[in-house]
Symmetry: C2
DNA sequence: TATATAATTAACTATCTAGTTAGTTAATTA
DNA sequence: TAATTAACTAACTAGATAGTTAATTATATA
């Protein structure tokens, strides 16, 4: 009988929307995500979404920028004050891998956005993406100068790492199924540490002198 | 005044729908693709889509299976009667790359499907995917037996190739932009031959003995 | 040429979705 | 405590979308 009185808390509500939106967008993609569903997931009225973020597109951009910021913070932190490109590259791969593992939806959201070729990506988003990529190319560049890395095409190496990790994370279920049903070797028992170590080893090898 | 009389041709109509659906689904994704738009693209009544393929989901599955078949045919053809795993791997990479290049939307559609982690992928689709992957693992397996390849985790190598190629193709526009605007080295002048040759070289290197 | 059938259409329904609005309640401040 | 503001809601609009249906037209065949 007694109606539950909810405390009002703008910050909490806004964060709640952002967190659930991140989950939904990355699980379902932009257009399959319903604002109605998001609202009920947050136990808030749908109008609150438009109250805090203006439009579905606006919410989406907020989500992506937060994601990029979070990834960048992780990577930049781990990468400070080391002056050994090989080690820095290992750190980059491992940090990105463990981040992907603990936030499986975030990197896939990122790559989805990257691949949306026709897209008119807003400036802020664009510059966030460049920051991440620049961090990476700097490691490779220093590695070349020091004589650690050879024959480097940074863009391709970057996508090798991001693409592989992302696919390994997002296909987990499918790989498990294929293994169970047909005994296929899909690396279904591999955990993320093994995977990232393997990728690291192989990338380091492919960058070594001829 | 005179109404244009259209010849009736079931096969042609069905194919037309399939072809345009492939374009639309891969450009816009599943849920952003409108059956109304598809119909008018084909210059057919929307009801024809449901007449030939039953439901949007059914059409989508038909599209994906056709894509997988086409890729598989390409790869299997190129791969016949060669008994040199290194060469076969090179062929696989180059064939997949040139296919991606000439049908930029198809591989991305495939990977999108793979990544839909929660998905209940229909059996036919699943078995088509396995066929492709099996073709690939067999090359690597023979390579190991012959002593050409070492320390192989086929699933990861597979995704390295597919993931990298796919990202390079789908990000073309974005990479061009980033290069023009900020002079970033995004491999924007690289053509697909250079890219696939580089990937081939690097993958071969990473599979070589320690 | 009459008939059956396959291909096609116009017009519809039911449902969903982003976004709005006018009004309500809780919290803050004067 | 009264007035103001910020957080919230219910009920709505307008447009889109997947899918249906009953009727129509072209084509092949008997």
């Amino acid at each position: 009988m007694s109606k539950i009185i909810k405390k009002r808390n703008a910050v909490a509500s806004k964060n709640l929307i952002l967190r659930n939106a991140t989950k939904l967008f990355s699980k379902k993609g932009y257009s399959s995500t319903s604002m109605e569903e998001l609202a009920s997931m947050c136990d808030l009225n749908k109008a609150m979404i438009f109250y805090y973020f203006d439009s579905k597109q606006g919410l989406y951009e907020a989500v992506i920028i937060e994601v990029l910021d979070e990834i960048y913070k992780h990577l930049a932190k781990e990468n400070k004050s080391i002056d050994n490109p090989k080690q820095e590259l290992s750190n980059f791969i491992k940090t990105f891998a463990s981040f992907s593992d603990s936030h499986p939806y975030l990197p896939s959201l990122l790559l989805k956005e990257l691949s949306d070729s026709g897209a008119k990506i807003p400036k802020t988003l664009f510059s966030h993406m460049k920051k991440l990529y620049t961090l990476f190319t700097n490691i490779l560049k220093r590695g070349e100068e020091v004589g650690d890395f050879f024959d480097v095409v940074p863009m391709i190496i970057y996508f090798m790492i991001m693409g592989t990790l992302n696919l390994m994370v997002t296909t987990k279920n499918l790989r498990d199924m294929a293994h169970e049903m047909d005994g296929l070797d899909t690396c279904s028992t591999c955990d993320m540490d093994e995977i990232s170590e393997y990728i690291d080893k192989k990338i380091q090898k492919l960058l070594k002198d001829k």
